[in-house]
Symmetry: C2
Subunit: 259 residues, 2 copies
């Protein structure tokens, strides 16, 4: 039987508040079994870029990673945030190891192909080195991924943290029974986006098609859920979406996706 | 018989020049056998701090790490520099893994005790987790240490890279036959500081005492050499001082210290 592994992603909503981050990290440290944390960026990168006098580069509402901004996200995501999260987990007796995709070549990516928009130094993932991540896990180490990868040719790349969580979960499902958990600011997938209590508790691929055809699932949620079902088809056992508190208390409302 | 391990430290003189860094990393990647890289900071941290409008804090000519400067060195050393070095080594097929002391708790330190000067968030090393570093090395991974450690209570600490190299070398000498190499801007220990050709090729503890009593070794070099002999007494096989080129070509002038 495969060992259980939880891959948990947190975003800016947790990282931006010192109290919330600390509370989440306590819960994460206490979580039993093998686990991996993936964290996004939050407002700190914007603050640092501002204080350095850098203008954010946007095209069509999308953020572009130019060279100066790549330096900032590398510093902030893989340096400041990652090392502070790791140090805090260590204080809570969780043997965390901070990683960018370059470290031990755990995530190889390529610079996003330019179609309509040149996203600059944005990375699309090619492969996850599951053998070395398994080695870390089996040695009692908890990997903590920042949203930076590389192209194995010396170039670091800014990479979507949701995608990192999904690709790491997919890749490790060969060796582990993986549960992928996305912590965000809602209680889960909602019937009514205005009502955080209207959580749809279970969605499988069949009911998902129905919810889509009925227009219940809102447009913003669609790409996220498509990725989740993609992970399920790639071997991930279940995907859970909800507030960070759910990792402490599974009675906290959340949505569970299965095939 | 113990396996050979090289612990190599580079400082700002290598890091500040992209050409020199790239040339050094090529040599380092090609170096046979087990190896560890320790890197210092260089001028990038000062540049970033300047661009953020931070004033360097100095007391009696010594740099003080206040909270804002700790953020900058964490970002620059453990983020920007470390991840770029790791990505460049990966491109050269060296399976590098970037580490701060917090990662997998590899280096535990304490905030320097305040005597005459309060150095702020400066770390003095308490212990190196040689078991986990050995695990990495035996898995074909090359650890790359930045000059950031932690106190296991959630606090990151700015830590002297020379000391990290020495402490890592000392600790690993239990399991490996360790050679500690300090790359700096001179050809080694010089008889005449003005003459880079006047290298003293071999120094042992006996000739060291003689050189000291004769006043041949200049004051700036004394604390560095004291630390080197301390490492030798702690089990490190030999300590080498010289220019970065020596790791490619041992015919390059250098000083070798032995007991």
């Amino acid at each position: 039987m495969k060992k259980q592994l939880s891959v948990i992603k947190i975003g800016g909503n947790v990282i931006n508040s010192e109290t919330e981050l600390d509370s989440f990290l306590s819960d994460f440290a206490e979580l039993q079994g093998l686990k991996i944390l993936v964290h996004g960026g939050g407002k700190k990168a914007t603050e640092i870029a501002d204080s350095m006098g850098l203008e954010p580069k946007m095209i069509g509402g999308r953020r572009i990673t130019d060279e100066a901004n790549l330096e900032v996200v590398t510093m902030v995501y893989a340096g400041l945030l990652n090392k502070n999260i790791v140090a805090k987990l260590q204080a809570k007796d969780c043997n965390a190891l901070g990683l960018s995709g370059a470290d031990a070549n755990v995530i190889e990516a390529h610079k996003r192909i330019v179609k309509e928009i040149d996203y600059g130094f944005a990375g699309d993932i090619d492969q996850v080195e599951n053998k070395i991540i398994s080695l870390f896990l089996n040695a009692g180490i908890t990997p903590v991924f920042s949203a930076i990868t590389h192209n194995k040719k010396g170039q670091l790349l800014n990479t979507n943290a949701d995608t990192i969580a999904a690709e790491v979960a997919n890749s490790l499902s060969v060796d582990f029974d993986v549960e992928l958990i996305y912590c965000f600011e809602k209680n889960g997938v909602l019937k009514d986006v205005e009502d955080d209590e209207s959580v749809i508790e279970c969605i499988n691929s069949k009911s998902y098609e129905l919810l889509k055809s009925e227009g219940v699932i809102n447009q913003g949620m669609l790409p996220k859920l498509e990725n989740c079902f993609n992970s399920l088809q790639n071997g991930v056992g279940s995907v859970i979406l909800g507030k960070p508190e759910l990792i402490r208390d599974r009675n906290n409302k959340h949505t569970r996706l299965t095939l």
